[in-house]
Symmetry: D2
Subunit: 466 residues, 4 copies
Amino acid sequence: MVDEISEECGVIGIWGHEHASRIAAMGLFAMQHRGQEASGIAATDGREVRLVRQMGLVARLTEYCAEHGELPGHAAIGHVRYSTAGGSALINAQPFLIRHKRGPLAIGHNGNLINAKALRHQMEEMGHIFQSTSDTEAILHLVARHPSEDIDEAVRASLAKVHGSYCVVMLAKDRMFVGRDPMGIRPLCLGRLEKAWVVASESCAFDLVGATYVRDIEPGELLVIDEKGTRSLRIAESTKRAHCIFEFVYFSRPDSLIFGHSCDKIRRRLGKQLATECPAEADVVIGVPDSSNTAALGFSHKSGIRFEIGLLRNHYVGRTFIDPTQAGREYKVKLKFNPIPGVLKGRRVVLVDDSIVRGTTLRSLCRMVREAGASEIHVRISSPPVRHPCFYGMDFPTETELLASNMSVEDMRKYLGVDSLGYLSIDGMVNTARELEGQFCTGCFSGCYPDEELNKPERNQTALPL
Amino acid sequence: MVDEISEECGVIGIWGHEHASRIAAMGLFAMQHRGQEASGIAATDGREVRLVRQMGLVARLTEYCAEHGELPGHAAIGHVRYSTAGGSALINAQPFLIRHKRGPLAIGHNGNLINAKALRHQMEEMGHIFQSTSDTEAILHLVARHPSEDIDEAVRASLAKVHGSYCVVMLAKDRMFVGRDPMGIRPLCLGRLEKAWVVASESCAFDLVGATYVRDIEPGELLVIDEKGTRSLRIAESTKRAHCIFEFVYFSRPDSLIFGHSCDKIRRRLGKQLATECPAEADVVIGVPDSSNTAALGFSHKSGIRFEIGLLRNHYVGRTFIDPTQAGREYKVKLKFNPIPGVLKGRRVVLVDDSIVRGTTLRSLCRMVREAGASEIHVRISSPPVRHPCFYGMDFPTETELLASNMSVEDMRKYLGVDSLGYLSIDGMVNTARELEGQFCTGCFSGCYPDEELNKPERNQTALPL
Amino acid sequence: MVDEISEECGVIGIWGHEHASRIAAMGLFAMQHRGQEASGIAATDGREVRLVRQMGLVARLTEYCAEHGELPGHAAIGHVRYSTAGGSALINAQPFLIRHKRGPLAIGHNGNLINAKALRHQMEEMGHIFQSTSDTEAILHLVARHPSEDIDEAVRASLAKVHGSYCVVMLAKDRMFVGRDPMGIRPLCLGRLEKAWVVASESCAFDLVGATYVRDIEPGELLVIDEKGTRSLRIAESTKRAHCIFEFVYFSRPDSLIFGHSCDKIRRRLGKQLATECPAEADVVIGVPDSSNTAALGFSHKSGIRFEIGLLRNHYVGRTFIDPTQAGREYKVKLKFNPIPGVLKGRRVVLVDDSIVRGTTLRSLCRMVREAGASEIHVRISSPPVRHPCFYGMDFPTETELLASNMSVEDMRKYLGVDSLGYLSIDGMVNTARELEGQFCTGCFSGCYPDEELNKPERNQTALPL
Amino acid sequence: MVDEISEECGVIGIWGHEHASRIAAMGLFAMQHRGQEASGIAATDGREVRLVRQMGLVARLTEYCAEHGELPGHAAIGHVRYSTAGGSALINAQPFLIRHKRGPLAIGHNGNLINAKALRHQMEEMGHIFQSTSDTEAILHLVARHPSEDIDEAVRASLAKVHGSYCVVMLAKDRMFVGRDPMGIRPLCLGRLEKAWVVASESCAFDLVGATYVRDIEPGELLVIDEKGTRSLRIAESTKRAHCIFEFVYFSRPDSLIFGHSCDKIRRRLGKQLATECPAEADVVIGVPDSSNTAALGFSHKSGIRFEIGLLRNHYVGRTFIDPTQAGREYKVKLKFNPIPGVLKGRRVVLVDDSIVRGTTLRSLCRMVREAGASEIHVRISSPPVRHPCFYGMDFPTETELLASNMSVEDMRKYLGVDSLGYLSIDGMVNTARELEGQFCTGCFSGCYPDEELNKPERNQTALPL
């Protein structure tokens, strides 16, 4: 997978603030959960676009800026990155900054292009050189190749040629581009900070920098911001929506507005629906901290079973899922979680988690809960079984590593060593969301993707009993 | 305060394990919340005592060991340190390792000696030199000066001369000493890991390394461990107990056994008692994450008001209280907490916190909660007002900086900008604990200290109305 | 000068050695004097080309490799870089590694392309994107654009399109390219290490790695090395030679063979010729250590005046000329040199230096020599006045900063504060070299460059009296 | 040898300058050749003594100070340290800073105390604790123990109790002490920088900071400097002098005044005397750079054989002798030296070196010279054979590792693989120096030490033929 890297990332852009790069760094900090491997900022002062990138947490980026001076300029874009080990290097850290006939251009991208490999092959044949292994670089080549004198049109037309999911922020000397794919797969929202415009993957970035949420960037919209103001171009017409429902399930921060709705609220509803679909006789409900506490609260409220904090997280270790290397996962579980025996001992426990990917972490957790004295363990998952790959940027393992692709729910229950295991149904999940009038991509659960070319017959044959 | 540094730290000791220093590092990691400024380990292989110390998190210590090789030996002691800025340097990081007439001797100490300054002055007059500004060094000089050929007796008699709080682990080439002050002010417990003995400030260290809790080190006990086994000496007779109740209120990890009891359970009871003493008309109860969630749950269960997660913590920033520098506290609050508007908007909110020291953090939080739309805010504190200094190692600011030393509760309510403010009473707190048959030090709340010499008249005249 | 960076660098290539990247690092270490700002290595194992680059001395590169493992493969290229501050960043460090239609390709380049800006502009117009500010990237684009299926021909034809000076090493998965410009401006030689082929800017790299000098890469030669052996292609026909005579004067290590001749021998001859042209009545001859000692010995042998070591260098500071920042040059002189009063006191001193660029360093040195008691100082320069820029990679300052562009020799004597100042004549220098049958570029001395387009009338009008 | 570390170091002290610590750092930089393992500075502003120490070169110390701010104060002492691997740690880096009954006291020490072990044992028995493995700490304990109220007398009397070699600088809040052992084994000189007093191991430190040499600190003198001025106390009466002649032979910088005389001049005389004692038929004389070039020039002038630069040093590697680890010495020789074939080919070469310790470096060099084409090699050593240990701080290996302790001169010649080997005689060396009216310690050559207790019969029986 060296040539095509799936990644889940976060982007930010700000136009019209005297400390644009500092604001960008703060916003990235708020979205640190979207990528801990590398972070970077590009800024323009109207004359030059400058770039700084660092491996590791955003804190290292701000340390660097504190030492070497903030990037000057009134506009900036930023990126946090999480990627598979294969592409784990500074060369793939974003923003990318290149120079082409229209001057310098920087880009930060969250999403995954499903035709990147083909585009790359095509352009290599035409004599282009590639310096990274990221699919994002293809966008830059398309822009550079485009004959139009008008950079707005060049960017618009280039984005129209890429398929898949993308939320991009691009920075030229004199303008900023903000684009989102026509199905709106990943979230991207627009905010206002005094006179400045801010865009970010999640609204939690606005809260930290003091900006106000205005609206989502429309699917298929290309927003151009320059000194004259903002204008919206249309990348492609599309009435089809395919918001990634996994952003609600797990990825986004609960205090964010995602696809225009409160992530926390949806997550609580998923918990309630789960209680309805898969009830349990139990004494306490606990969540896997911190991401599943909200769903666990929903489960508790619906079921009337008492919510407790039965597992603690050690804050000195990062998020398991987001770690690019798999080595030592088992050991890290032990470092990261500690059960509260007083809560668990002799109790029948409902343990709510948001999803099961490989299942190794959860298995260790269940063993911990058992050893802490729980008399029964009922695992409840606030989403359906993840059985298929994501082609839009969520870095799931291959199907052979996905637990639910290889086992029936009963086998998974045995594997986890628990008394019962219940999943939310796809319908239950989508119905919860449908009240919110969204249309969602459920590819990783259903194997049915919004891009038809992905729905090859051989992809959709998994038919394990729920 | 250069000469006398108050510090709250964590210690560990292990005897009889082939990877003693690795186990010690793991245990320190579990107790990272007790000190993030520096950490160190000393180990013996029977022939030599070796030392490694690093500034920063325990992770840096393990990185160092990964690079330079684990300290060899079957026994090790370790220390994590938090200290005031004045003494913030590697020279004060522990363990200390010295050589004296009986060979090398390392020491790690949690607590604070109230006669350290006097002892130091006395020994300087006798020609001793001091290399650190820590009170711990005094113990080493006492041991070195002691005429006895028997090191056990020298250590015992030396500890008998120091007053205040101490949990010490000491390591000679051929034995380990574990001592605790006669009133048992700080926690220290003994565990078993296969054939090895482990001691640690908190039992959560046992859970991580796989050890089993055996018992607390007795107040006034000096446990000596060597190849012949263990033996208990008595430092001083004392029937008076003065366990630091603040360990339950805030400092210890909830999953730890402290003074023989579950910290989580006590913390929940404090929340219940708080609901009884200071009820509130409200829609939701939220806690200041993560330390006050347990008390908030207790409040919720007793009051019947729904518990919600209304504030989120960003895990990429450390614990406010534990940061040795005060600079930028306000800014860090904003980085660290984010309110969930969906939970707070239009709601009457009970906000439970464990204590108020300076009050600046809480004030910012209350403003956040208000801005997120709460219609009323009722702050409830699961301990009494902190009005007096701690002489036993809790690093409170001076009385002039303690909010409750300078304001009445009503003035504090106004300062925080909330609708009501309620504190747990000293009696309520102690009664909760008394069920557990402990005797506690309430000095920071009551101004009444277990060492009589600290109860000078001028110390106890604060008389602000609750 | 952001778009076009002049640089003097060093390159190495090795094909057919099991520790190719280690050998490359050793060779770079031997050529450290050619660039201290950054260093890098690319290696191939036949399947993949891998890259590592570091800012700073080669030692940092080897540290990195020691920690992360040697780059695997039987072939490697390497580069040390010195550049002006404007381009001082990892993004410009070489080798560059890109992917194009024929797979991965790495390049390291010593020299300067005089048509890089034009080529870049042309290719940007055709839709190419540039990621560095280095002229080297143009070569990669030319190769990628070239329609031929045959990579050998693509590389050959691309090099034929660039003008100026270049010694390039390029590495594909299955072959190595070694190319030199048709006038042979910079040195590049070929050696043998057992069965492996080695190329390097200077033969001193061969001595360290244990290789044997075979011959120079011919001007205009493109040597291709792969598993079938070596073959020589012709980039362009050229009978004109323009070896950079400054390599002999200053830049190369004295123990290197440069353009097929011993640098040390030429340097000594320049000293002898200088003694003939500009004799002096004096008691001792001293050189500016370490680069001018050889010329000073030549002066001493010819003149019969005793050679002495009258100035010492502190080895803990790097070479002045090679430092990319000008800040604090005066202070660094003081750190770097210390006069020996016993040698200088009361003596008439001939001080030999190889060249004068800005003159600030030499002026400080002369003051030192005077303060150490010299009764007379006669400065003798073993090359003619540097009055013109170098377009082929020697990083001279602009003409306004070149002392000899702005002052007559008599004014320079006064500026230096010495009793006499003598320069070697251009004829004298070239005659010394002509015995060796070389044809040299004297552009920086004469303003007359081998590329005719550089000899614009306005360039050649400086006419200060010698 | 953990308990008693021989070390050769450098010290500096300055009193009465507003940038005392910066001046101290500059002076240490000039004496970097005396110790590259660690460096440190202590400074006083009259109220507090502060300390900073770093492993590695002085540059790291100045980097640290640039980042964290210069140590404030009008007086400072500094130390560069070189030591054997056993004690290679920050804990042994100097200055040491302790607190005792008279307040803070810092010390930096160059030399070696022959009764340190005994003193340490004695004081440990009296209850003192030791934190380093350095003999220097003993001095601090003696001062702290001394009953006198008068710190001047306490320091004086303490120094009177230690035997061996010492040049110490000590800093209290309000005064600086400068002491030298009664036989004046190591060099220590006094200078003036405007109104400030400076002391340094070598006068080259004065040259860099702009100070003027005033005189040597007298053997047995304790100079006290405070705001009232300077006063000289007498540590012990001694008419016997035992200047370390090895400072002239190798250790000191040639531009320093050592024991009141120019090191360069003495070194040249040793070369002349060597030419007289051990003439050779040869074409060229070369020195081992850089330390032996001066002696080689002396040999050349006396013999009339032409001096040439036949070996080059790579300045990117440090001094062999001074590296605390022996590992990879052979490889480092190759990295460090490169022969000039044009100078050596077909020539009969006199190769002058200052001394032979293990002989491994020289042997590699001789092989290089041979391979570069020398027809004959005549090694000439500008000092007598080193056959005995140094007890005064020169870090020679044990006698079993000293080449001359184990081989006759003829065997050494064979070992080196050269045509002849000639050593300077002890008489020749001492006579050269005696003209300068010094009295020298020749212990490492003769086995006869100025402290009679070291001249045990068993020490002096080596009787290999010269």
